[in-house]
């Protein structure tokens, strides 16, 4: 135990002496937490629309002002022909082109039906399909306005209608930040803990100081624990600051118990740091450790369900996702913070995370050899 105390003192001294490392550990994550959630927004708005109005009737005027006031579209240009409007799409100045053909108003009333043309830039699939869906909704609304003006009311009521009453639980205002901030906080803790732990032992190898440790009577587990505990404390500290930012900047107050959150965090950090140390014991130099860590952490982040839901993945990808410790923490974080899930709701995740922690650290201790 006394040895461990000395090891800890050494580690802390090394960390706090490194002036350029400190801002990376403490300040960089916080800045990212302040900026990223504002940017990571899937809520599609401000769709740039180019309009080709070949009719110039009162109906087209009404339609255009209705589109403008819907709040989703920004009309970026009126062009006489479709070809010219397509030029705006090529320059990325328009996402969708709406073509209102000649005699739009006359045909709609006389013939009872009229086509309009939409062309959407579909390179970004979500934007293309959501944008055209919004525009279609506006058109349908406009259509029923016209219809009510021309058709007697009793005829409309004859149709059977099903009213759909949606109710949004856990996040009634559909605030995307409520969803992203907890997830991004998990990623930031993961980046700090994972990378720094991965670089740590290998640095001693590269610089040569590991030899000095190897010839002392320090036991393997003491050495690993001495590396693990400081980063565990740093990770918890960063997490706490992050929670405060979430509380005071984004107004996110965890619905569930903080105690449950911290319980899970402490297990998660042990698992994550074990992973970092494992990479470190396998690597020969810092660049290698960093690249290996980057490789895995990148996969962890992409597969964790931070940006895209795990449910949408094919089976093999779901299995990979289940094999990464980050997935469970993002899950649990969102459950506790947004839904107020309690200990009994997350016991499955806790068991798995404990398994990760024991397995990864056991492997790291096993793989750390005191002889070359």
């Amino acid at each position: 135990m006394r040895t461990l105390k000395f090891l800890l003192r050494k580690e802390f001294r090394q960390i706090f002496r490194n002036r350029s490392l400190l801002p990376i550990i403490f300040i960089l994550p916080m800045i990212q937490l302040l900026i990223m959630p504002l940017a990571a927004n899937f809520d599609i708005r401000n769709i740039n629309l180019a309009i080709v109005d070949q009719d110039h009737s009162s109906y087209t005027q009404r339609l255009i002002s209705k589109i403008g006031s819907s709040g989703y579209f920004r009309i970026t240009g009126f062009k006489p022909t479709y070809q010219k409007a397509l030029g705006l799409v090529e320059q990325e100045k328009a996402d969708i082109v709406l073509v209102i053909p000649q005699n739009f108003e006359r045909n709609l009333i006389r013939e009872g039906t009229q086509k309009v043309f939409l062309a959407a830039d579909a390179i970004n699939g979500i934007k293309g399909s959501l944008g055209s869906a919004y525009l279609t909704t506006v058109l349908t609304d406009f259509n029923s306005d016209i219809r009510t003006e021309w058709v007697q009311p009793q005829k409309l009521n004859a149709e059977a209608t099903i009213d759909i009453v949606p109710e949004n639980w856990f996040n009634p205002l559909m605030n995307y930040q409520f969803f992203m901030v907890p997830g991004i906080l998990v990623i930031l803790v993961t980046l700090v803990g994972g990378f720094i732990a991965a670089l740590n032992i290998v640095k001693e190898k590269e610089v040569g100081t590991i030899e000095q440790i190897n010839v002392t009577p320090i036991k393997k587990w003491e050495f690993i624990a001495g590396k693990l505990i400081p980063f565990w404390l740093i990770g918890s500290f960063d997490f706490t600051i992050g929670l405060l930012i979430a509380r005071f900047v984004y107004g996110i107050i965890p619905v569930g118990h903080l105690a449950v959150l911290y319980l899970f965090l402490s297990i998660y950090l042990v698992a994550l740091l074990g992973f970092g140390l494992l990479i470190s014991t396998y690597s020969d130099n810092q660049l290698q450790a960093m690249f290996v860590a980057f490789f895995f952490i990148m996969i962890f982040i992409l597969m964790s369900g931070l940006f895209t839901s795990v449910d949408n993945m094919p089976i093999w990808a779901k299995i990979i996702s289940r094999l990464t410790p980050v997935t469970y923490f993002i899950d649990v974080m969102r459950m506790i913070v947004l839904k107020g899930s309690g200990l009994s709701d997350i016991k499955y995740q806790i068991f798995i995370e404990i398994a990760f922690a024991v397995g990864l650290n056991g492997w790291a201790i096993f793989n750390y050899r005191k002889t070359n």
Partner: protein, 368 residues
């Protein structure tokens, strides 16, 4: 010139000696392509839905059958009490509940009006919105079939065309994104580390006192990484074209020229990082940990930049990968020529110029 060749050779030895790093260097883009191409999608599939049916009549049964038949939903359990439903939501076992009130069919037939309730797990607002949209369209279809007799007068029919990507191939959007992301991270890290390493190990001193000019020291470091990055670019491009059916519609020579420009700008950025760090650890943490999220987010391939608040839109302009992404999209997917992207190219070239000048100015030929 011979001297220069020897130095380039030295750098190549450094690179090829470390097999594991090399493996990651080329494994990284391959894994990313596979994940982005086959695993990551915002398209809704198998969303877990629970139906609470108090009516148990024909109409509710038919709607449930339609929902079960769609690929978007998988129906979990069928009967739930309120209490059970709460727990299922809290544990994340279901994303949505559809509730039919009793006498659903009767209301529909006699009053011409009936209600269904949808409860959504809005902790993920985007999925919640998509689920609501799909359910609405399924129920709307059913309603239209019910009213098949009466026709709708004065109908506007929108005719939709999806430009550049009619099959809605999701890979289209991210292949340029992955190229930008991988090149940015890999080039920046490699250059900054390789220079800082010489400082840390003390070998920089040796290089600087040799008759070899400092500028050549830097150049000889840049050339191997330029080569490796171009190779990486080719691999991603080939995977994209042959594995994911992403077309290259424009001029391939132009694409390579622009990519080389982008790689040079990343290398200069790495050089800049190396000029104000003195340990490998710091250089790596800045170029990887610091750059990863900003590059993912500000390149614009995951989150549209127009959605961001104005200050962030302005910030995104200083990220070189954003400009490169626009260029690659224009050449590869839209098949446009140089006249449509000269502005972006100019911005990228100007950035490269500034980065290069600043970092060369800061590059110290004397060690403190």
């Amino acid at each position: 010139m011979n001297q220069f060749g020897v130095f380039v050779q030295k750098e190549f030895y450094h690179v090829f000696r470390d097999k594991r790093t090399l493996l990651i260097l080329f494994g990284l883009p391959i894994v990313q392509i596979i994940l982005f191409g086959f695993a990551l999608t915002t398209e809704l599939k198998n969303a877990k839905l629970v139906v609470v049916d108090y009516a148990k009549d024909i109409a509710s049964g038919q709607i449930t059958a339609r929902i079960a038949a769609s690929p978007y939903f998988s129906i979990e359990k069928s009967v739930l009490s309120n209490e059970e439903m709460n727990i299922a939501f809290r544990r994340g076992e279901v994303k949505c509940a559809l509730i039919f009130p009793s006498r659903f069919n009767e209301d529909l037939l006699h009053l011409n009006k009936a209600q269904v309730q949808i409860i959504l797990d809005a902790s993920d607002p985007n999925t919640a919105k998509t689920i609501a949209n799909y359910l609405q369209s399924i129920i709307g279809d059913y309603q239209r079939k019910l009213n098949a007799g009466s026709s709708e007068p004065y109908k506007i029919e929108p005719e939709l065309r999806m430009l550049y990507n009619p099959e809605m191939n999701g890979s289209m959007n991210f292949i340029p994104g992955v190229i930008a992301l991988v090149l940015m991270i890999v080039c920046t890290t490699l250059t900054s580390v390789s220079i800082v390493k010489e400082k840390e190990m003390g070998t920089m001193e040796v290089l600087l006192v040799s008759p070899f000019k400092p500028i050549y020291v830097i150049l000889s470091k840049a050339i191997p990484y330029l080569g490796l990055s171009l190779l990486n670019f080719i691999i991603i491009l080939l995977l994209g074209v042959f594995l994911l059916d992403v077309p290259v519609r424009g001029n391939i020579v132009l694409l390579f020229a622009e990519s080389t420009l982008f790689i040079i700008s990343c290398l200069s950025f790495g050089l800049l990082i190396s000029s104000f760090t003195d340990s490998q650890q710091t250089a790596m943490l800045i170029s990887m940990m610091g750059m990863m999220l900003p590059t993912i987010i500000f390149t614009g391939f995951l989150f549209p930049i127009e959605n961001m608040p104005l200050p962030l839109q302005i910030i995104s302009n200083v990220i070189p990968s954003k400009w490169y992404y626009t260029i690659v999209k224009a050449i590869m997917l839209k098949g446009l020529g140089f006249q449509s992207i000269w502005k972006e190219t100019l911005v990228l070239a100007a950035m490269t110029g500034v980065l290069l000048t600043v970092s060369l100015k800061r590059f110290k030929t004397r060690l403190a």
